[in-house]
Amino acid sequence: MNQAENIQKKSKARLIIYWILTGYLAFESVLSATWDFNWLNKGFAIHMMKQLGFPPYFLIIKGIATLLAAPVLLLPRMPLLKEWAYFGTFLIYAGAIASHLFVGSALNNLIAPFIFLCITVASWALRPASRRIIIN
């Protein structure tokens, strides 16, 4: 009885953590798009692209991609599509880290993408059964 209650409490805590991380990840996906489109925090994203040697139009592609990923992460079901959205999000943050390392940016540039990379992996690992594909 006590153990069953404990398991229930744990799974509830897991679900709450999942939603906090996933909500934040989706929020960041939308917010970063407004930076990429140069609507908010004007000039920052373009400056970053220059630093990494990427073309400024890449921001439009990346912004559209993260805007597509956000609803996929939030909406119910669609476990296969979620797998794609998580991997795309993972590639963006891992790619940002790799690019900063290649151009020799100061290490504090790695902090934000590293935190978001961890949130991506944690949200993926904690996703509940209804949002998960079980391998047969």
């Binding site: 073309p55 439009i60 797998e83 991997f87 590639l91 690019s99 391998i135």
Partner: protein
């Protein structure tokens, strides 16, 4: 559960499996060639990267990713890893097409990565049960 899978496996026709392997071999060849040219600094690839405005170190990153993709694509099982591989390659081809459009290249140029994306989706669609997430 196990019985159900065997029944489904039998249902996967030989023709479909044959088509899967032909198409997947084309994808694998394309990925392998890409990895080789990326990592050996093939001039045509560097020129395309420069033409699109991407840094040359991106080719090193893509080259390593393509080697990983090739292994994941050809190895048996690992259906989730395969799903990520298909996703990664699909993103790469569509971003390549979008980049060519962004710098004002003609349809003859940007249609190529979209054709590759189409071949990739065909391989994904035909993948047999043992290589598929439930």
């Amino acid at each position: 559960m196990e019985k159900e899978i065997t029944i489904k496996e039998v249902k996967t026709s030989k023709g479909r499996l044959f088509a899967y392997w032909i198409i997947t071999a084309i994808v694998a060849l394309q990925v392998a060639a890409g990895a080789y040219f990326d990592l050996t600094g093939f001039p045509a690839f560097s020129q395309i990267a420069q033409h699109l405005g991407y840094p040359l170190y991106l080719l090193s990153i893509l080259g390593v990713l393509r080697i990983l993709a090739l292994i994941a694509l050809l190895a048996p099982r690992f259906p989730r890893l395969k799903e990520w591989t298909y996703a990664g390659l699909f993103f790469e081809y569509t971003v390549a097409a979008a980049s060519h459009i962004a710098v004002g290249d003609g349809a003859k140029v940007w249609i190529m990565p979209l054709i590759f994306a189409g071949i990739l989706i065909a391989s994904w669609y035909l993948r047999p049960l043992s290589r598929r997430l439930a």
